[in-house]
């Protein structure tokens, strides 16, 4: 080989690689990178890894629009009985599962049976049990009966994915939904490819396929976005998004996530049984700083676990403040001997923000007389300690279903539900108010009940809401019309990649 050809060799090799790689990139396939591993295709686990999959493979009966009004999906129309105890749904005709099987009311029945079966571990099981009977008078009608009016039923529908009644239960390798994309291949922990469902009842999607790529290293995923290997990366921090927002080749944006950060205070811990200690911690919680740090200057803070447009929101109770002087005074008034030693449970593996919140709180509590020790464990260790054993003192945590009907939030999440509350909080007045708010369709009655709940939250401070999470994402500028559900789950039905 001549000297010249040796000099040309690297360039020729690079050109050959670029040409080879180019064949993989020039297509109408949207590649989404996420750090979480999608182990299977079960639509009822509802962990972050499943979020880009569920609304694209499966359909729901209804889905909230941007104004939180339910829109028809597999249910074409619906009607409540006058007493609010019965809901009749008329199902869409001409809908087929990916297998080709026609969708009927029997599949709604099968999906319901699957969800309420405790062996299946469906997250919405408790909520679905509000439906006391489900009848299918014909192939395209479903009648649901409730023990008491169920104003949160559309919240349930939002997460109630319809599965094929004949193949339900095996989500390890494939899934048979009615959604806009079919599962072409699923390699757990690496790649899940969803192909366009040409026979989708709402019209075939524009995208040929969606690839959900597991990219365990977030920095590497962002580099892949820059190099064009990925088209969309979600669940980012403000700091990650900032460099892309100044780059014209990318689009940055935010979507609601349906998740909010909180501090859970375990009332089994003697010091935390003292209301003044809980008040001191609340006053030492710098919500503004945390919000700005995570989501930038437009970020909101929460004292109550609801969005201001919620029927359960009351401005007079949205009254928390950051004041270390008052926090110290509250602690001194508590009668506890100082300093108080407490531990805070966190898991960087679940979210780095958990630990950042713990560190900020640790720094602010130390001067007023509370020494906070941070216990940082892995994701499963966290859940085991927090949920299973409840062996924590303070936990940096995030709850879901934020921003939906308050009954969904207050009755099903471990931090708010009155029975078996994760903090050990027991208060008959709270139980009564939560039950009352979720059992009547009359707005005034619901508002009255939730006003009482809000008052109790701020008085008893067993859960300290901090900030609602925002789903920050970056995409190539060619990507457009990605939709987001009320829970912040990606919807690719109308997404497009321009030339």
């Amino acid at each position: 080989m001549t000297k010249l050809s040796f000099r040309l060799l690297p360039s020729l090799t690079a050109a050959a690689f670029v040409a080879a790689a180019g064949t993989a990139l020039a297509d109408n396939v949207l590649r989404l990178g996420q750090t979480a591993t999608l182990p299977n295709l079960d639509p009822f686990v509802l962990a972050p890894a499943y979020e880009p999959m569920v609304n694209n493979v499966y359909d729901t009966l209804t889905r909230y629009d941007g104004n939180m009004s339910p829109e028809p999906r597999l249910a074409e129309s619906w009607e409540f009985s006058d007493d609010g105890l019965t809901l009749t749904l008329k199902l869409r005709e001409g809908v087929a599962f990916h297998s080709g099987k026609a969708f009927t009311s029997a599949d709604v029945r099968a999906s319901f049976d699957y969800v309420v079966n405790p062996d299946n571990g469906a997250l919405i099981r408790g909520f679905a049990q509000r439906i006391t009977a489900l009848e299918t008078p014909d192939d395209h009608a479903v009648v649901m009966t409730f023990e008491a009016p169920f104003p949160g039923v559309f919240d349930l529908f939002e997460l109630f994915y319809i599965i094929d009644g004949e193949s339900s239960g095996d989500f390890g390798q494939t899934a048979n939904g009615t959604g806009p994309f079919t599962v072409a291949s699923h390699e757990p922990g690496t790649l899940t490819r969803l192909d366009r469902n040409a026979g989708y009842w709402n019209g075939a999607p524009s995208l040929e396929a969606v690839e959900i790529v597991t990219a365990p290293n977030q920095q590497a995923a962002l580099l892949s976005l820059r190099s064009g290997e990925l088209d969309l990366v979600t669940e980012l921090g403000w700091v990650d998004v900032l460099p892309f927002s100044r780059d014209g080749d990318f689009v940055t944006g935010s979507a609601p996530s349906g998740v909010a950060h909180d501090l859970s205070l375990n009332l089994k811990v003697p010091a935390l049984q003292n209301p003044k200690v809980r008040e001191a911690i609340d006053l030492a919680l710098d919500r503004e700083r945390i919000a700005k740090l995570f989501f930038g200057s437009d970020a909101k803070t929460w004292c109550l676990p609801y969005h201001p447009n919620s029927i359960a929101y009351f401005e007079e109770y949205d009254n928390c403040e950051f004041d270390l002087g008052k926090a110290k005074a509250a602690l001194e008034a508590s009668g506890e001997s100082l300093p108080i030693e407490l531990k805070i449970l966190t898991s960087t593996e679940i979210r780095t923000e958990y630990t950042t919140i713990a560190e900020i709180l640790q720094a602010d509590l130390q001067p007023i007389g509370i020494n906070l020790t941070i216990e940082n464990v892995d994701a499963v260790g966290y859940r085991s300690t927090y949920v299973d054993r409840r062996d924590y003192e303070i936990a940096s945590h995030a709850f879901g279903r934020a921003g939906k009907d308050p009954s969904a939030l207050l009755e099903t999440t471990v931090v708010f539900r009155p029975d078996g509350n994760i903090t050990g909080y027991e208060n008959p007045a709270y139980s009564e108010a939560v039950k009352a708010g979720g059992s009547t369709p009359v707005l005034e009655e619901r508002r009255a009940a939730y006003r009482e709940v809000a008052r109790i939250f701020r008085e008893d401070r067993f859960i300290l809401p901090i900030i609602p999470r925002v789903r920050l994402f970056v995409s190539q500028d060619e990507v457009s019309s990605v939709g987001w559900s009320a829970d912040g789950f990606a919807i690719f039905e109308n997404a497009e990649i321009s030339e």
Binding site: G126, S224, V380, V387, T412
Partner: protein, 319 residues
């Protein structure tokens, strides 16, 4: 020879049994289990209990282990409760990627490690030797994944020559597959190159100072023949040992490199299994690692005979 191989596999069996018991105990002691993962963030106590019974986690630990061990002896490594697929299927699905990366990395490490080591030995005491030594020290002191991220930044983001991550099959096109393999293989091989280069240099210099080299030169044996027939063979054994160990480690999965390059290998599968407390999958991948590691070591031991006749007669005779 047959008895030797048999005894090595018998040793492996003992190791497998001991390690599987230890792993079972460790997984039992750490907080959380598969139910914690399956039950989601807002489980009720009834749900947790039902799942525990369904997965058999309510039974005493010796019973759980015994059931797993009996099934494993019959070739059934079980089904992952988290992923919902047979463990053997999951291992087989990741094995090609792991093998591909490990073979590519060890080839890169061997070729470049030996080449650099020989050059350093031949230029001992010169600026070339000093530069190689400095670079080796730098490479050994920086973690592989850092080079991986640097590589992505240079070759994928800035130059656009190579893809930033993932894997393509050779059936998709050899050049395409190679373009995905080249960066992770080099990143994985870098510290092995440095280590092998150091070893080759040291071994060669050690051999060059031996009396037999002086005698051979005095008898008029040419430098090339001396290096090929005598010095290289003697210096090869320690290098071969290190190469074998590194190859065994690479076959066990290169977790960080796999994560950075999104390479679908066994390392990531194992880490995910540990994170999910998926004890069935952890045990399965562990069996694989032990068998692979001991097989590679056995092959390396047997290959010593190719370079040293004394070893050949020892293994072929009584061991």
């Amino acid at each position: 020879m047959g008895r030797y191989v048999f005894s090595r596999f018998a040793q492996a069996l003992v190791v497998i049994i001991i390690v599987s018991i230890i792993v079972f105990l460790i997984m039992y002691l750490v907080p959380g289990d598969a139910v914690t993962v399956l039950a989601g963030p807002d489980p009720t106590p009834e749900l947790v209990e039902a799942l525990r019974v369904m997965l058999g986690l309510d039974q005493p630990l010796p019973v759980q282990y015994g059931k797993w061990a009996i099934a494993a002896m019959q070739g059934d490594l079980g089904t992952s409760p988290i992923i919902g697929r047979p463990v053997s299927e999951l291992i087989w699905s990741r094995l090609p990627a792991t093998l591909e990366l490990a073979v590519a990395a060890i080839l890169v490490a061997s070729v470049f490690g030996i080449l650099v080591g020989v050059v350093a030995a031949q230029r001992q005491g010169t600026w070339v030797d000093a530069t190689i030594t400095a670079i080796n020290s730098f490479v050994l002191s920086v973690p592989n994944f850092w080079f991986g991220i640097l590589g992505i930044l240079c070759f994928a983001v800035w130059l656009g020559w190579l893809p930033s991550g993932g894997r393509k099959l050779w059936s998709d096109g050899p050049l395409l597959a190679l373009s995905y393999l080249i960066m992770p293989a080099i990143a994985l091989a870098l510290d092995s190159i440095a280590m092998i280069a150091r070893l080759v240099r040291a071994s060669l210099l050690d051999e060059l100072s031996r009396d037999y080299v002086t005698v051979a030169r005095a008898k008029g044996v040419g430098q090339s023949r001396l290096m090929r027939r005598h010095i290289a063979r003697n210096a090869a054994i320690p290098v071969l040992t290190v190469l074998g160990l590194r190859f065994g480690q690479m076959l066990g999965g290169a977790v960080l490199i796999e994560a950075v390059f999104n390479w679908p290998g066994l390392g990531r599968l194992t880490v995910e299994a540990i994170k999910n407390r998926d004890i069935v999958l952890v045990q399965g991948t562990l069996m694989y690692f032990i068998v692979i590691y001991m097989t590679v070591n056995l092959l390396i031991d047997l290959s010593y005979g190719l370079f040293d006749p004394r070893v050949r007669s020892s293994v072929g005779g009584k061991v």
